[in-house]
Amino acid sequence: MTALLASLGRTALRLAREVGGLLGFGARVARALAPPRPDRRELVRSLYKMGNRSVTIVVLTALFAGGLMAIQSGSFVKKLGATGLAGWGAGYAVLREIGPILIALMFSGRVGANTTAELATMTLTEQLDGLRALAIDPLRYLIVPRVLAMVVMLVALTVLGDLVALLGAAAVAHVVMDIEWATMMTSFADNLAPADFFHGVGKSIAFAVAIALSSCYFGVSVRGGAPGVGRAVNASVVTSAVAIVLLDFFLTYLTS
Protein backbone atom coordinates (compact mmCIF):
# COMPACT_ATOMS: atom_id res chain seq x y z
CA MET A 1 0.00 0.00 0.00
CA THR A 2 2.82 2.36 0.94
CA ALA A 3 4.64 1.44 -2.23
CA LEU A 4 1.52 2.15 -4.27
CA LEU A 5 1.06 5.54 -2.63
CA ALA A 6 4.73 6.35 -3.13
CA SER A 7 4.46 5.39 -6.78
CA LEU A 8 1.34 7.52 -7.20
CA GLY A 9 3.09 10.41 -5.48
CA ARG A 10 6.11 10.11 -7.74
CA THR A 11 3.88 10.02 -10.82
CA ALA A 12 1.94 13.06 -9.62
CA LEU A 13 5.15 14.96 -8.92
CA ARG A 14 6.58 14.06 -12.32
CA LEU A 15 3.36 15.10 -14.02
CA ALA A 16 3.30 18.39 -12.10
CA ARG A 17 6.93 19.03 -13.00
CA GLU A 18 6.29 18.39 -16.70
CA VAL A 19 3.11 20.46 -16.79
CA GLY A 20 4.85 23.29 -14.94
CA GLY A 21 7.85 23.05 -17.25
CA LEU A 22 5.61 23.06 -20.31
CA LEU A 23 3.65 26.09 -19.10
CA GLY A 24 6.83 27.97 -18.23
CA PHE A 25 8.25 27.10 -21.63
CA GLY A 26 5.03 28.32 -23.28
CA ALA A 27 5.32 31.63 -21.43
CA ARG A 28 8.93 32.07 -22.59
CA VAL A 29 7.95 31.30 -26.18
CA ALA A 30 5.06 33.78 -25.94
CA ARG A 31 7.48 36.47 -24.70
CA ALA A 32 9.89 35.68 -27.53
CA LEU A 33 7.00 36.01 -30.00
CA ALA A 34 6.25 39.58 -28.99
CA PRO A 35 7.14 40.95 -31.44
CA PRO A 36 7.72 37.91 -33.69
CA ARG A 37 11.15 38.35 -35.27
CA PRO A 38 12.08 34.83 -36.32
CA ASP A 39 15.26 34.07 -38.20
CA ARG A 40 13.93 34.16 -41.76
CA ARG A 41 16.21 31.42 -43.07
CA GLU A 42 15.30 29.08 -40.24
CA LEU A 43 11.59 29.85 -40.71
CA VAL A 44 11.67 29.09 -44.43
CA ARG A 45 13.65 25.92 -43.80
CA SER A 46 11.13 24.78 -41.18
CA LEU A 47 8.12 25.63 -43.36
CA TYR A 48 9.55 23.69 -46.27
CA LYS A 49 10.57 20.66 -44.22
CA MET A 50 7.31 20.44 -42.31
CA GLY A 51 5.07 20.96 -45.31
CA ASN A 52 7.04 18.77 -47.64
CA ARG A 53 7.20 15.99 -45.08
CA SER A 54 3.47 15.99 -44.36
CA VAL A 55 1.60 16.58 -47.61
CA THR A 56 1.49 12.97 -48.80
CA ILE A 57 0.40 11.49 -45.49
CA VAL A 58 -2.22 14.22 -44.96
CA VAL A 59 -3.68 13.78 -48.45
CA LEU A 60 -3.89 10.01 -48.03
CA THR A 61 -5.43 10.25 -44.57
CA ALA A 62 -7.91 12.93 -45.58
CA LEU A 63 -8.96 11.07 -48.72
CA PHE A 64 -9.87 7.93 -46.84
CA ALA A 65 -11.30 9.76 -43.83
CA GLY A 66 -13.65 11.62 -46.16
CA GLY A 67 -14.60 8.34 -47.84
CA LEU A 68 -15.24 6.76 -44.48
CA MET A 69 -17.56 9.58 -43.45
CA ALA A 70 -19.44 9.19 -46.72
CA ILE A 71 -19.94 5.48 -46.11
CA GLN A 72 -21.06 6.03 -42.50
CA SER A 73 -23.54 8.76 -43.33
CA GLY A 74 -24.45 7.34 -46.76
CA SER A 75 -25.93 4.12 -45.44
CA PHE A 76 -28.44 6.10 -43.36
CA VAL A 77 -29.38 8.65 -45.98
CA LYS A 78 -29.81 5.90 -48.57
CA LYS A 79 -32.07 3.98 -46.19
CA LEU A 80 -34.13 7.12 -45.57
CA GLY A 81 -33.99 8.17 -49.20
CA ALA A 82 -32.44 11.50 -48.24
CA THR A 83 -29.40 11.45 -50.51
CA GLY A 84 -29.45 15.22 -50.55
CA LEU A 85 -28.13 15.11 -46.98
CA ALA A 86 -25.23 12.75 -47.71
CA GLY A 87 -22.86 15.65 -48.33
CA TRP A 88 -23.96 17.40 -45.18
CA GLY A 89 -23.37 14.33 -43.01
CA ALA A 90 -19.90 13.68 -44.37
CA GLY A 91 -18.89 17.33 -44.76
CA TYR A 92 -20.03 18.44 -41.30
CA ALA A 93 -18.05 15.68 -39.60
CA VAL A 94 -15.00 16.28 -41.80
CA LEU A 95 -14.83 20.06 -41.44
CA ARG A 96 -15.61 20.33 -37.74
CA GLU A 97 -14.07 17.19 -36.26
CA ILE A 98 -12.43 14.48 -38.29
CA GLY A 99 -10.38 16.72 -40.56
CA PRO A 100 -8.68 18.87 -37.92
CA ILE A 101 -8.20 16.10 -35.38
CA LEU A 102 -6.90 13.42 -37.74
CA ILE A 103 -4.58 15.80 -39.53
CA ALA A 104 -3.29 17.14 -36.23
CA LEU A 105 -2.58 13.61 -34.99
CA MET A 106 -0.78 12.79 -38.23
CA PHE A 107 1.15 16.06 -38.02
CA SER A 108 2.10 15.35 -34.44
CA GLY A 109 3.38 11.87 -35.30
CA ARG A 110 5.28 13.10 -38.30
CA VAL A 111 6.45 16.66 -37.70
CA GLY A 112 6.16 16.91 -33.91
CA ALA A 113 8.11 13.70 -33.33
CA ASN A 114 10.75 14.75 -35.82
CA THR A 115 11.08 18.18 -34.24
CA THR A 116 11.52 16.65 -30.78
CA ALA A 117 14.16 14.21 -32.05
CA GLU A 118 15.98 17.00 -33.91
CA LEU A 119 16.02 19.40 -30.95
CA ALA A 120 16.90 16.62 -28.51
CA THR A 121 19.86 15.59 -30.64
CA MET A 122 20.94 19.22 -30.93
CA THR A 123 20.69 19.59 -27.16
CA LEU A 124 22.73 16.47 -26.46
CA THR A 125 25.42 17.40 -28.99
CA GLU A 126 25.80 20.84 -27.33
CA GLN A 127 24.48 22.70 -30.37
CA LEU A 128 22.13 24.73 -28.21
CA ASP A 129 25.00 25.63 -25.91
CA GLY A 130 27.00 26.42 -29.05
CA LEU A 131 24.35 28.95 -30.03
CA ARG A 132 24.27 30.46 -26.55
CA ALA A 133 28.07 30.73 -26.54
CA LEU A 134 27.77 32.71 -29.78
CA ALA A 135 25.30 35.07 -28.07
CA ILE A 136 22.33 33.60 -29.95
CA ASP A 137 19.19 32.82 -27.99
CA PRO A 138 18.15 29.28 -29.02
CA LEU A 139 14.56 30.13 -28.14
CA ARG A 140 14.44 32.91 -30.71
CA TYR A 141 16.65 31.21 -33.26
CA LEU A 142 15.36 27.62 -33.17
CA ILE A 143 12.09 27.45 -31.27
CA VAL A 144 10.16 30.51 -32.48
CA PRO A 145 10.58 29.66 -36.20
CA ARG A 146 9.48 26.07 -35.54
CA VAL A 147 6.43 27.16 -33.55
CA LEU A 148 5.39 29.62 -36.26
CA ALA A 149 6.06 27.09 -39.03
CA MET A 150 3.99 24.43 -37.26
CA VAL A 151 1.02 26.78 -36.85
CA VAL A 152 1.16 27.97 -40.46
CA MET A 153 1.68 24.48 -41.86
CA LEU A 154 -0.96 22.71 -39.77
CA VAL A 155 -3.56 25.31 -40.75
CA ALA A 156 -2.53 25.01 -44.43
CA LEU A 157 -2.58 21.22 -44.24
CA THR A 158 -5.97 21.25 -42.53
CA VAL A 159 -7.40 23.41 -45.32
CA LEU A 160 -5.87 21.09 -47.91
CA GLY A 161 -7.04 18.04 -45.97
CA ASP A 162 -10.59 19.41 -45.76
CA LEU A 163 -10.73 19.82 -49.52
CA VAL A 164 -9.27 16.38 -50.17
CA ALA A 165 -11.60 14.79 -47.61
CA LEU A 166 -14.66 16.36 -49.24
CA LEU A 167 -13.46 15.11 -52.61
CA GLY A 168 -12.86 11.67 -51.10
CA ALA A 169 -16.36 11.68 -49.61
CA ALA A 170 -17.89 12.61 -52.96
CA ALA A 171 -15.82 9.99 -54.80
CA VAL A 172 -16.69 7.18 -52.40
CA ALA A 173 -20.36 8.19 -52.33
CA HIS A 174 -20.38 8.03 -56.11
CA VAL A 175 -18.47 4.76 -56.50
CA VAL A 176 -19.80 2.80 -53.51
CA MET A 177 -23.29 4.17 -53.04
CA ASP A 178 -24.05 5.41 -56.52
CA ILE A 179 -24.78 8.96 -55.36
CA GLU A 180 -24.24 11.50 -58.12
CA TRP A 181 -21.28 13.91 -57.92
CA ALA A 182 -23.65 16.81 -58.44
CA THR A 183 -25.89 15.64 -55.60
CA MET A 184 -22.94 15.56 -53.21
CA MET A 185 -21.62 18.94 -54.33
CA THR A 186 -25.05 20.52 -54.00
CA SER A 187 -25.42 18.94 -50.59
CA PHE A 188 -22.07 20.39 -49.49
CA ALA A 189 -22.95 23.84 -50.80
CA ASP A 190 -26.48 23.92 -49.40
CA ASN A 191 -25.81 22.48 -45.97
CA LEU A 192 -22.32 23.50 -44.94
CA ALA A 193 -21.64 27.01 -43.69
CA PRO A 194 -18.33 28.90 -43.66
CA ALA A 195 -18.58 28.69 -39.87
CA ASP A 196 -18.14 24.91 -40.10
CA PHE A 197 -14.93 25.40 -42.03
CA PHE A 198 -13.59 28.12 -39.74
CA HIS A 199 -14.52 26.11 -36.67
CA GLY A 200 -12.13 23.40 -37.84
CA VAL A 201 -9.45 25.87 -38.83
CA GLY A 202 -9.65 27.52 -35.39
CA LYS A 203 -9.18 24.12 -33.78
CA SER A 204 -6.19 23.41 -35.97
CA ILE A 205 -4.50 26.58 -34.69
CA ALA A 206 -4.99 25.44 -31.09
CA PHE A 207 -3.76 21.93 -31.95
CA ALA A 208 -0.70 23.36 -33.70
CA VAL A 209 0.25 25.44 -30.67
CA ALA A 210 -0.08 22.36 -28.44
CA ILE A 211 2.01 20.20 -30.78
CA ALA A 212 4.64 22.90 -31.24
CA LEU A 213 5.07 23.59 -27.53
CA SER A 214 5.07 19.94 -26.58
CA SER A 215 7.52 18.84 -29.27
CA CYS A 216 9.93 21.74 -28.66
CA TYR A 217 9.73 21.49 -24.87
CA PHE A 218 10.52 17.78 -24.72
CA GLY A 219 13.26 18.28 -27.31
CA VAL A 220 15.16 20.93 -25.38
CA SER A 221 14.64 19.36 -21.95
CA VAL A 222 16.02 15.95 -22.95
CA ARG A 223 18.27 14.07 -20.53
CA GLY A 224 20.25 10.88 -20.77
CA GLY A 225 21.87 10.39 -24.19
CA ALA A 226 20.37 8.41 -27.05
CA PRO A 227 17.75 6.60 -24.90
CA GLY A 228 16.70 10.04 -23.71
CA VAL A 229 15.88 11.04 -27.29
CA GLY A 230 13.51 8.08 -27.56
CA ARG A 231 11.86 8.98 -24.26
CA ALA A 232 11.53 12.62 -25.31
CA VAL A 233 9.88 11.70 -28.62
CA ASN A 234 7.51 9.34 -26.85
CA ALA A 235 6.57 11.95 -24.25
CA SER A 236 6.09 14.57 -26.95
CA VAL A 237 3.77 12.42 -29.08
CA VAL A 238 1.71 11.23 -26.11
CA THR A 239 1.39 14.74 -24.67
CA SER A 240 0.40 16.16 -28.05
CA ALA A 241 -2.23 13.45 -28.59
CA VAL A 242 -3.74 14.00 -25.14
CA ALA A 243 -3.67 17.77 -25.62
CA ILE A 244 -5.36 17.48 -29.03
CA VAL A 245 -8.21 15.38 -27.66
CA LEU A 246 -8.69 17.58 -24.58
CA LEU A 247 -8.57 20.79 -26.62
CA ASP A 248 -11.01 19.32 -29.12
CA PHE A 249 -13.45 18.46 -26.37
CA PHE A 250 -13.29 21.84 -24.67
CA LEU A 251 -13.33 23.87 -27.89
CA THR A 252 -16.32 21.89 -29.16
CA TYR A 253 -18.08 22.26 -25.81
CA LEU A 254 -17.41 25.99 -25.58
CA THR A 255 -18.49 26.74 -29.15
CA SER A 256 -21.52 24.46 -29.36
Binding site: T125, D129, A133
Partner: protein, 267 residues
Protein backbone atom coordinates in the same frame (compact mmCIF):
# COMPACT_ATOMS: atom_id res chain seq x y z
CA UNK B 1 53.84 20.60 -39.11
CA UNK B 2 56.88 21.72 -37.20
CA UNK B 3 57.01 22.23 -33.46
CA UNK B 4 56.29 25.76 -32.41
CA UNK B 5 59.15 28.03 -31.43
CA UNK B 6 59.66 28.54 -27.68
CA UNK B 7 57.42 31.21 -26.30
CA UNK B 8 58.11 33.23 -23.20
CA UNK B 9 55.83 32.27 -20.35
CA UNK B 10 53.16 34.80 -19.45
CA UNK B 11 53.13 36.19 -15.95
CA UNK B 12 50.25 35.05 -13.75
CA UNK B 13 49.08 38.65 -13.57
CA UNK B 14 50.56 41.41 -15.62
CA UNK B 15 51.20 44.45 -13.44
CA UNK B 16 48.37 46.94 -13.74
CA UNK B 17 46.40 44.90 -16.24
CA UNK B 18 42.87 43.80 -15.40
CA UNK B 19 42.67 40.01 -15.35
CA UNK B 20 41.11 38.29 -18.33
CA UNK B 21 39.44 35.80 -16.04
CA UNK B 22 38.71 36.01 -12.35
CA UNK B 23 36.86 33.50 -10.17
CA UNK B 24 36.30 34.26 -6.51
CA UNK B 25 35.06 31.59 -4.13
CA UNK B 26 33.14 29.72 -6.84
CA UNK B 27 31.14 26.70 -5.79
CA UNK B 28 28.94 24.51 -7.98
CA UNK B 29 27.12 21.42 -6.84
CA UNK B 30 25.26 18.74 -8.74
CA UNK B 31 22.95 16.39 -6.87
CA UNK B 32 24.46 17.51 -3.59
CA UNK B 33 28.05 16.89 -4.70
CA UNK B 34 30.32 19.92 -4.92
CA UNK B 35 32.14 19.54 -8.22
CA UNK B 36 33.84 22.88 -7.70
CA UNK B 37 34.22 24.22 -4.20
CA UNK B 38 35.64 27.61 -3.25
CA UNK B 39 37.61 28.01 -6.45
CA UNK B 40 39.73 31.15 -6.82
CA UNK B 41 41.51 31.74 -10.09
CA UNK B 42 42.98 34.75 -11.82
CA UNK B 43 44.27 34.60 -15.38
CA UNK B 44 46.19 37.45 -16.96
CA UNK B 45 45.41 38.73 -20.45
CA UNK B 46 47.31 36.87 -23.13
CA UNK B 47 48.09 33.88 -20.89
CA UNK B 48 47.76 30.30 -22.04
CA UNK B 49 46.47 28.20 -19.20
CA UNK B 50 45.95 24.47 -19.30
CA UNK B 51 43.35 23.03 -16.94
CA UNK B 52 44.24 19.56 -15.72
CA UNK B 53 42.37 17.13 -13.54
CA UNK B 54 40.93 13.66 -13.34
CA UNK B 55 37.65 12.81 -15.05
CA UNK B 56 34.67 14.66 -13.52
CA UNK B 57 36.96 17.04 -11.63
CA UNK B 58 35.09 20.05 -13.04
CA UNK B 59 37.39 21.06 -15.92
CA UNK B 60 34.65 21.43 -18.53
CA UNK B 61 32.35 22.89 -15.89
CA UNK B 62 34.91 25.61 -15.27
CA UNK B 63 34.79 26.63 -18.94
CA UNK B 64 30.98 26.57 -18.96
CA UNK B 65 30.90 28.79 -15.90
CA UNK B 66 33.21 31.26 -17.61
CA UNK B 67 30.93 31.78 -20.59
CA UNK B 68 27.82 31.87 -18.44
CA UNK B 69 26.28 28.66 -19.74
CA UNK B 70 25.97 27.52 -16.13
CA UNK B 71 25.65 29.76 -13.09
CA UNK B 72 27.63 29.02 -9.92
CA UNK B 73 25.78 28.38 -6.66
CA UNK B 74 28.14 30.67 -4.78
CA UNK B 75 30.92 33.02 -5.78
CA UNK B 76 31.64 35.59 -8.43
CA UNK B 77 33.06 35.32 -11.92
CA UNK B 78 34.28 38.12 -14.11
CA UNK B 79 35.54 37.66 -17.64
CA UNK B 80 37.30 40.33 -19.70
CA UNK B 81 36.31 42.87 -17.08
CA UNK B 82 32.60 42.01 -17.18
CA UNK B 83 30.69 40.30 -14.40
CA UNK B 84 29.21 36.97 -15.49
CA UNK B 85 27.41 36.05 -12.30
CA UNK B 86 24.05 37.56 -11.50
CA UNK B 87 23.33 38.55 -15.08
CA UNK B 88 20.46 37.38 -17.22
CA UNK B 89 21.07 35.43 -20.42
CA UNK B 90 20.22 38.42 -22.61
CA UNK B 91 22.77 40.56 -20.77
CA UNK B 92 25.63 38.20 -21.55
CA UNK B 93 25.47 38.76 -25.32
CA UNK B 94 28.11 41.50 -25.42
CA UNK B 95 30.57 39.44 -23.42
CA UNK B 96 29.95 36.25 -25.39
CA UNK B 97 30.75 38.05 -28.62
CA UNK B 98 34.25 38.55 -27.22
CA UNK B 99 34.70 34.82 -26.53
CA UNK B 100 35.47 31.83 -28.69
CA UNK B 101 34.42 28.42 -27.44
CA UNK B 102 35.37 25.02 -28.77
CA UNK B 103 33.08 22.37 -27.31
CA UNK B 104 34.13 18.86 -26.48
CA UNK B 105 31.55 17.37 -28.86
CA UNK B 106 32.24 20.02 -31.53
CA UNK B 107 28.72 21.54 -31.30
CA UNK B 108 28.73 22.03 -35.07
CA UNK B 109 25.29 22.98 -36.32
CA UNK B 110 24.14 20.00 -38.34
CA UNK B 111 21.65 22.13 -40.30
CA UNK B 112 24.51 24.20 -41.77
CA UNK B 113 27.35 23.28 -44.08
CA UNK B 114 30.97 23.72 -43.05
CA UNK B 115 30.98 27.19 -44.58
CA UNK B 116 27.67 27.99 -42.88
CA UNK B 117 29.05 26.93 -39.51
CA UNK B 118 32.23 28.98 -39.83
CA UNK B 119 30.37 31.99 -41.22
CA UNK B 120 27.68 31.84 -38.55
CA UNK B 121 29.35 34.09 -35.93
CA UNK B 122 30.10 36.73 -38.57
CA UNK B 123 26.55 36.66 -39.93
CA UNK B 124 25.05 36.90 -36.47
CA UNK B 125 27.26 39.88 -35.67
CA UNK B 126 25.78 41.78 -38.57
CA UNK B 127 28.38 41.26 -41.28
CA UNK B 128 26.17 41.54 -44.33
CA UNK B 129 28.55 41.43 -47.27
CA UNK B 130 28.55 37.85 -48.62
CA UNK B 131 31.89 38.37 -50.35
CA UNK B 132 33.57 39.49 -47.12
CA UNK B 133 32.09 36.53 -45.26
CA UNK B 134 33.09 34.06 -47.98
CA UNK B 135 36.64 35.41 -48.02
CA UNK B 136 36.95 35.20 -44.22
CA UNK B 137 35.56 31.67 -44.21
CA UNK B 138 37.92 30.55 -46.97
CA UNK B 139 40.88 32.07 -45.13
CA UNK B 140 39.93 30.36 -41.85
CA UNK B 141 39.36 27.01 -43.51
CA UNK B 142 42.73 27.29 -45.25
CA UNK B 143 44.33 28.04 -41.88
CA UNK B 144 42.85 24.89 -40.34
CA UNK B 145 43.77 22.77 -43.36
CA UNK B 146 40.26 22.35 -44.69
CA UNK B 147 40.39 24.44 -47.85
CA UNK B 148 37.71 23.38 -50.29
CA UNK B 149 35.47 21.84 -47.64
CA UNK B 150 32.98 24.70 -47.64
CA UNK B 151 30.08 22.74 -49.13
CA UNK B 152 30.46 19.64 -46.99
CA UNK B 153 28.09 18.82 -44.12
CA UNK B 154 29.27 18.11 -40.57
CA UNK B 155 27.97 14.53 -40.87
CA UNK B 156 30.44 13.92 -43.71
CA UNK B 157 33.49 14.89 -41.64
CA UNK B 158 35.84 12.86 -39.47
CA UNK B 159 36.34 13.72 -35.80
CA UNK B 160 39.55 15.61 -36.51
CA UNK B 161 37.93 17.61 -39.29
CA UNK B 162 35.00 18.50 -37.05
CA UNK B 163 37.42 19.74 -34.40
CA UNK B 164 39.14 21.91 -36.98
CA UNK B 165 35.84 23.33 -38.21
CA UNK B 166 35.00 24.04 -34.56
CA UNK B 167 38.31 25.86 -34.15
CA UNK B 168 37.69 27.85 -37.34
CA UNK B 169 34.26 28.88 -36.03
CA UNK B 170 35.58 29.72 -32.57
CA UNK B 171 38.37 31.90 -33.91
CA UNK B 172 36.87 33.58 -36.99
CA UNK B 173 35.96 36.72 -35.06
CA UNK B 174 39.38 36.89 -33.37
CA UNK B 175 37.98 36.65 -29.83
CA UNK B 176 39.86 38.01 -26.85
CA UNK B 177 39.36 34.84 -24.80
CA UNK B 178 39.40 31.32 -26.19
CA UNK B 179 38.00 28.37 -24.25
CA UNK B 180 39.02 25.01 -25.66
CA UNK B 181 37.30 21.95 -24.19
CA UNK B 182 39.18 18.80 -25.14
CA UNK B 183 40.38 20.05 -28.52
CA UNK B 184 42.01 16.71 -29.32
CA UNK B 185 39.77 14.16 -27.60
CA UNK B 186 39.51 10.96 -29.60
CA UNK B 187 42.11 12.01 -32.15
CA UNK B 188 45.27 10.18 -33.13
CA UNK B 189 48.61 11.65 -31.93
CA UNK B 190 49.50 13.12 -35.33
CA UNK B 191 46.19 14.93 -35.74
CA UNK B 192 46.36 15.94 -32.09
CA UNK B 193 49.78 17.52 -32.63
CA UNK B 194 48.49 19.35 -35.71
CA UNK B 195 45.55 20.73 -33.78
CA UNK B 196 47.79 22.07 -31.00
CA UNK B 197 50.15 23.58 -33.60
CA UNK B 198 47.14 25.28 -35.11
CA UNK B 199 45.99 26.65 -31.74
CA UNK B 200 49.51 27.81 -31.07
CA UNK B 201 49.76 29.68 -34.38
CA UNK B 202 46.38 31.27 -33.81
CA UNK B 203 47.21 32.45 -30.32
CA UNK B 204 50.53 33.89 -31.48
CA UNK B 205 48.72 35.80 -34.21
CA UNK B 206 45.98 37.24 -32.00
CA UNK B 207 47.49 37.34 -28.51
CA UNK B 208 44.20 36.03 -27.12
CA UNK B 209 43.94 34.60 -23.63
CA UNK B 210 43.49 30.84 -23.79
CA UNK B 211 42.10 28.35 -21.30
CA UNK B 212 42.37 24.80 -22.56
CA UNK B 213 41.11 21.57 -21.05
CA UNK B 214 42.60 18.39 -22.40
CA UNK B 215 43.06 14.80 -21.33
CA UNK B 216 46.02 14.65 -23.70
CA UNK B 217 48.32 16.02 -21.02
CA UNK B 218 51.68 15.81 -22.83
CA UNK B 219 50.31 17.61 -25.88
CA UNK B 220 48.56 20.19 -23.75
CA UNK B 221 51.74 20.89 -21.78
CA UNK B 222 53.49 21.63 -25.07
CA UNK B 223 50.95 24.32 -25.82
CA UNK B 224 50.25 26.16 -22.56
CA UNK B 225 52.51 28.30 -20.36
CA UNK B 226 51.02 27.39 -17.03
CA UNK B 227 48.71 24.80 -15.57
CA UNK B 228 45.88 24.74 -13.12
CA UNK B 229 45.31 21.35 -11.53
CA UNK B 230 41.84 20.70 -10.16
CA UNK B 231 41.48 18.14 -7.42
CA UNK B 232 38.68 17.54 -4.92
CA UNK B 233 36.79 20.53 -6.31
CA UNK B 234 39.61 23.02 -5.72
CA UNK B 235 42.61 24.47 -7.49
CA UNK B 236 45.10 22.06 -5.98
CA UNK B 237 48.12 23.36 -7.86
CA UNK B 238 48.95 26.22 -10.12
CA UNK B 239 52.27 26.95 -11.73
CA UNK B 240 54.31 27.24 -14.89
CA UNK B 241 54.66 24.23 -17.13
CA UNK B 242 58.43 24.45 -16.87
CA UNK B 243 58.24 23.72 -13.13
CA UNK B 244 56.08 20.60 -13.47
CA UNK B 245 58.96 18.10 -13.74
CA UNK B 246 60.13 19.25 -10.31
CA UNK B 247 56.67 19.21 -8.73
CA UNK B 248 56.74 17.32 -5.45
CA UNK B 249 53.05 17.40 -4.57
CA UNK B 250 52.09 13.71 -4.36
CA UNK B 251 48.58 14.16 -5.80
CA UNK B 252 49.84 16.14 -8.79
CA UNK B 253 52.77 13.79 -9.20
CA UNK B 254 50.51 10.75 -9.25
CA UNK B 255 48.21 12.41 -11.76
CA UNK B 256 51.05 13.44 -14.06
CA UNK B 257 52.79 10.09 -13.87
CA UNK B 258 49.56 8.28 -14.53
CA UNK B 259 48.72 10.51 -17.50
CA UNK B 260 52.20 10.57 -18.91
CA UNK B 261 52.48 6.82 -18.62
CA UNK B 262 49.16 6.37 -20.35
CA UNK B 263 47.50 4.84 -17.32
CA UNK B 264 45.16 7.76 -17.30
CA UNK B 265 44.29 7.31 -13.70
CA UNK B 266 44.31 9.99 -11.14
CA UNK B 267 43.91 9.28 -7.47
Amino acid sequence: MTSPAPRPAQPATAPGAAPAVELRGVRKTFDGRAVLDDVDLVVAPGARVGVLGAAASGKSLLLRLLCGLIAPDVGAISVLGEEVTGRREAELGTLRRRLGVLFQSYALFDFLTVAGNVAFPLEQRGEADPATIAAAVAQRLRAVGLAGSEARWPSELSGGMKKRVGIARATICAPELLLYDEPTAGLDPVTSRKIFDLLDADQRATGATVLAVSSDVPALLGFVDEVVFLHAGRVHHRGPVAALPDARDPVLRAFLDGEAGGAGGAP
